[in-house]
Structures are given as C-alpha cells and as structure tokens.
C-alpha cells in the first residue's frame, strides 16, 4: 500500500466517522452504509483499512461496550456482500440493498444477545428495535437513492487519482 493510499484511507475513514457523529442525533439515519458501499465499489483495496479505522474510532469515542461487538461483524459483512454485488450499477438495486441492510440491522445486532441470553432475549431485543430498523431502512434507501450517483462520481475521481480502475 502506497503512502497516498494510506493518507486517502485515513481521510475517508475520518469523513465516515465525522458524518456518523454529525448524524448521531437522528434515530438510525446514518451515512455509514451508503459510504461503505460506495467505498467498496470504487476503492475496494482501501476499504479494509477504512473499516478497521472506523470501528476503532467508534470504540474509542463511545466505549467498547457489547454494542461495539456488533460493529466487528456488521460492517465487514456489509463490505463483503457489497463486494459480491459490486458489478451491479443499478441505483434501484443499491437502494433496495441498503434498505434491506437497514431492515436487518437489528436482527444482526441481536445475535450476541441471543448467544449470551438465549433465543428469547435475542428475539425480544430485535422486536423492541423494529421501529428503528424501519427508520434505518427508509434512511438508508433515501440516502442511497439521492447520493449514489453524485458521490459515485466523486469517488471515481479519487479512484483515478490513486490509479485504480474506478469500477470492476
């Protein structure tokens, strides 16, 4: 990895974290899903470093509680799924994908609770958060729908700047 790539990774991780903090007051409406999907599509080599930096920053800022365990697999899972679908270019497809990820976020986060407290504990944790999952779905879908193209263009410039092919 070149110095330029490391610097850009740091900047993009910082941007991701700053936007997440800026939007923290809105219930489950966050730019992280959108940006991670776009980073994975346009800058696949940088994304592992960006995700690690982001997860670490979250822990340092908000504490390494049980909620932080979710981040260890939720965001890498998103990146992995996006990597599998990276050849798709339809905005509608990505809108549905990010909406579906928002819907499943609560279920994914319930896994540690189900493992530690039993299936009922996991289920009740998931059910109590369903209204927030619905908001998460709407927020993710709206952001992806509105910003997929313009941000994609910005990231393709960065990819060219780094000498990477903009899309696989």
């Amino acid at each position: 990895m070149t110095t330029r790539q490391i610097v850009i990774s740091g900047l993009l991780a910082g941007l991701l974290f700053a936007l997440q903090v800026a939007m923290a007051g809105l219930p489950n409406i966050e730019p992280v899903t959108l940006l991670l999907i776009l980073y994975t599509i346009y800058l696949p080599k940088l994304v592992p470093l960006i995700v690690c930096a982001f997860i670490l920053l979250e822990g340092i800022t908000y504490g390494f509680g049980i909620w932080w365990l979710h981040y260890l697999y939720v965001w890498p899972l998103l990146v992995s799924l996006t990597h599998l679908l990276r050849r798709k270019s339809s905005r509608v497809m990505w809108t549905c994908f990010s909406g579906a990820f928002g819907l499943s976020f609560g279920a994914l986060c319930a896994i540690p609770y189900a493992l530690t407290g039993g299936l009922y504990a996991g289920f009740s944790y998931w059910v109590s958060g369903i209204p927030f999952d619905l908001l998460h779905c709407c927020g993710n879908a709206a952001l992806m729908c509105a910003l997929f193209m313009p941000l994609g263009r910005c990231l393709s410039y960065i990819a060219k700047f780094l000498g990477e092919t903009s899309r696989p």
Binding site: V92, M93, A100, S124, I130, C145
Partner: protein, 182 residues
C-alpha cells in the same frame, strides 16, 4: 388474475402520467431539465415515480423490500412490548456511585416504566430521538465528564426497551444504577 394484471397496468399508466407531470415541474422555463436536483420537492416526486417506471426486475426488488417492511411491521405489531391497565405496585432500587442504595415503593396507573417514574418524581431526563434519556435519579445527576449514566435493570436482568417503552406489571422490581464508563 386477469383483473390483477389489468389493475397493475392501469396503475402503471396512471403513475407514468403523474411522473410526466412531476417532470414538467422539474423543467426550467428554457426547457432544460433539472433532473430532480434543483427543485427538491418536484425532484423527489419525479424520482419516486421514475422508480416505478423502471423495468420489472427492479420493480420486483422494490416489491420485495416493501414486503419485508410489511412483514417486520406485522411482527412488531404482534410481539411488541405492551403495557397493562390498572394500578401496579413497583419496587425501585436506586444504586448510587458509591454502591449505597435506597429503595422506593411506587403505586402507579401508568403502563410504562418511564411515565411511572416521572410521575413519582423519581427521575428526570431529556426527550431525544430514541425516547427519554435519564439524567437525574433521586436528585443525583449523572456527570457526563466522568462518563456516568443511569442503567435500568429488571430483577438484575437486562432491559431491552427504552425506559418509556418498558411495560410494567404489578410487583415488578427494577434497579436503577449509576454506572461510570461507557
């Protein structure tokens, strides 16, 4: 089946006409389209209906997402935490930073814990997007600079709901503990 297909076609045609009208809203006087980026409302309406006019594969994706939303909504309606009407007696134990504690007995008609504690004057808090956030219990305020926060547990076990959506039953025992460190 024929009726359904016919209805879908009629609906699609109607949506197309609405989308065309919305597109006109998004057209400048000189005829150049702003493509939904300049007029936010017109743009949103245009884009929403433009989605409906995309090919069937994308329509199916949208329909699948909508179906998932409906299923989740149904699950929540069936299994969401529900309060019970009537008078309830609650035991509340407040545990302070120095690990000393004080017990309170509350009699309430409220259906959720937050309302019962606020009405009893035991807690104060701030309403946020995630519901009520407890800042003060029994006159003791959590100090943010020390990363202090109030943790609510039920008979020693974790509570999965926010305090203003936690249902209560007669004889319930809750602990409110001042924790340090997030």
């Amino acid at each position: 089946m024929k009726f359904l297909c016919g209805s879908a076609t009629v609906m699609r045609d109607a949506l197309s006409r609405i989308a065309d009208s919305a597109m006109e809203v998004c057209t400048h006087e000189n005829g150049q389209r702003c493509d939904g980026r300049i007029l936010p409302f017109g743009g949103c309406v245009y884009f929403f209906f433009k989605l409906w006019r995309t090919d069937m594969k994308q329509m199916k994706l949208l329909a699948a997402l909508a179906a998932a939303v409906v299923v989740l909504l149904g699950i929540w309606m069936c299994f969401r935490p529900k309060g019970i009407e009537g008078t309830k007696d609650l035991d509340i134990q407040v545990i302070y930073a120095d690990e000393s504690s004080k017990d309170f007995q509350i009699s309430t008609d409220a259906e959720v814990l937050g309302k019962a504690l606020v009405e009893a004057g035991l807690i104060e808090g701030e309403d946020g997007p995630f519901g009520l956030y407890i800042t003060t219990v029994d006159g003791v305020t959590a100090d943010d600079s020390l990363q202090q926060w109030w943790c609510v547990t039920k008979s020693g076990g974790r509570v999965d709901t926010g305090i203003d959506s936690t249902p209560i039953e007669d004889g319930d025992h809750f602990e409110i503990t001042l924790k340090t460190g997030y």
